[in-house]
């Protein structure tokens, strides 16, 4: 069947929704080619690098977190150490104070005791001295008394009468017994 070429009627708008075989052909070929090339050379590289970078970032974040935690732990350790040191210092100071007090108290006590001892010794020696003095005094008084009595006796018994009278008196006492 043949027909003469004529200027066609308007079917162009409808042509819009009729797929052209030539374009389908080129589209299929070129899209599959680009899919193959990019799928082989570009996407795996890009996706792999992205994944690796994401992993490394995640790792970095993790280790930063860990470092932070370690720092916090260190800090709390330090604080604990400082607290311990402070407590130790306080304890030491307290101990020293106690020791000092104890030493002072002890020396006070010792001094007191010593003083007491000395006092006691002094008192004893004073007593002894006093007693000795008293004894000596007593002895002297006794000796003096004897001397005086001797002198008095000597004086009283100087004559016979007086001797006789005494004798009588003594005799009387014996009789009574």
């Amino acid at each position: 069947m043949e027909r003469v070429y004529t200027k066609g009627k308007n079917t162009k708008a409808m042509e819009l929704i009729k797929p052209e075989i030539g374009l389908i052909f080129w589209m299929t070929v070129s899209f599959l080619a680009v899919l193959f090339i990019l799928g082989k050379f570009a996407w795996p590289v890009i996706l792999k690098s992205l994944r690796e970078r994401e992993e490394s970032i995640a790792n970095a974040l993790n280790s930063a977190q860990k470092a932070k935690e370690e720092m916090a732990a260190l800090k709390s350790d330090n604080e604990k150490l400082i607290m311990q040191a402070r407590a130790e210092r306080d304890a030491l100071l307290k101990e020293a104070r106690d020791t000092k007090d104890a030493i002072i108290a002890e020396s006070k006590n010792k001094a007191q005791a010593e003083a007491n001892k000395i006092m006691a010794a002094a008192r004893e020696s004073i007593n002894n001295e006093k007693n000795a003095a008293i004894n000596e005094l007593k002895n002297q008084v006794a000796a003096m008394s004897i001397e005086i009595a001797e002198k008095i006796l000597r004086h009283e018994l100087a004559n016979d009468d007086k001797q006789k009278t005494l004798m009588d008196g003594l005799m009387k006492d014996i009789n009574l017994n």
């Binding site: 003469v4 708008a13 374009l23 070129s30 992205l50």
Partner: protein, 381 residues
Amino acid sequence: MAQRTQNAGLMKLKLIGLILCLFAGTSVFAEGEAEAGAEKFDAGKTIVEHISDSHDWHILGKEPHAVSVPLPIIVYNKERGLSMFMSSRFEHGHKAYAGYVLRENKIEAVNELEEIPAEQATVSEELTAATYDISITKNVFSLLVSIVIMLWMFMSVAKSYGRRQGQAPKGMQSLIEPLVVFVRDEIAKPSIGKKYEKYMPYLLTVFFFIWINNLLGLIPIIPGGANVTGNIAVTMTLAIITFLITTFSANKNYWQHVFAMPGVPVGVLVLLTPIEILGVVLRPFVLMIRLFANITAGHIIALSFFSLIFIFGEMSTGLGFGVSVLSVAFVVFMSMLELLVAFLQAFVFTLLSAIYFGAAIEEHHHDHEHGDAHVEEALLI
């Protein structure tokens, strides 16, 4: 979710626009034919020409004195074999060359092999039916450019990843990386699950392919401005690839859900199974239509605003200049919206593909999850 519903609304608006434009185009054409000879500006024709594929890249001017970049014609005919020549040989459809004429941007085989004016050539239906046109058309050219851009971009980025191991991204890397991470973390991982890595190359390629081509379509100068992702052949190819991957990676569980949904009484299965089977085919179909309609509608709206300038300009030159200010303002606004749509449609296509892959490889199905997936799908359509 809110964002998706909004997108669905936008999509509806665009579909209405598209349908209106198609009708408007036809009616304006009818008028144009009625008063043949009078060189009136035909908005419908201009717009459809701009969003259609063509065998040469029109830059400026009108038919007899048009300036356009010729593109290679590659035709295979079962009887004549492969022919290759530049589209300039056709002289914009006025000449027959090597046994072919260009009629309404379609290549048709003619009986005469010598160079004669197109009007004298006789079209052979049998030969035309045996002719396969695989020319580097405007869309193919733009497609190839986009692919060169993609290859250059991602190969260089892959190289810089190799070179700058463990370092922060730089230059192009910083542009690509958030998008790659976005596709991986927001699309692939939640939709597919643990086995997402197998599908990453396809999802990334399809995402960037659609996005880059959408953006190229927004650039008005060569090699941009073609309507690659708004061409049904392109979106069909992408949808078919998604469909094939879904079908070939589908496990027993998936087919069981299609043919005999577990826990559903036989009476309901009679109804449900045809719907599920229809759904299997409908999903890629909707993928194809959504991308096509969204991008084409965007182009149509921008071109419609520009057409307003010339429609009013024909009434009076001053009016044309006046309207141009408004038109340009609207086109700027629409282009901003289209920048968003370019990303959104790439995202939606990739996300839905990922959801289909996820459904195909899902091992154990929870009923509530199943319900959620369907709700999401419904919203996206």
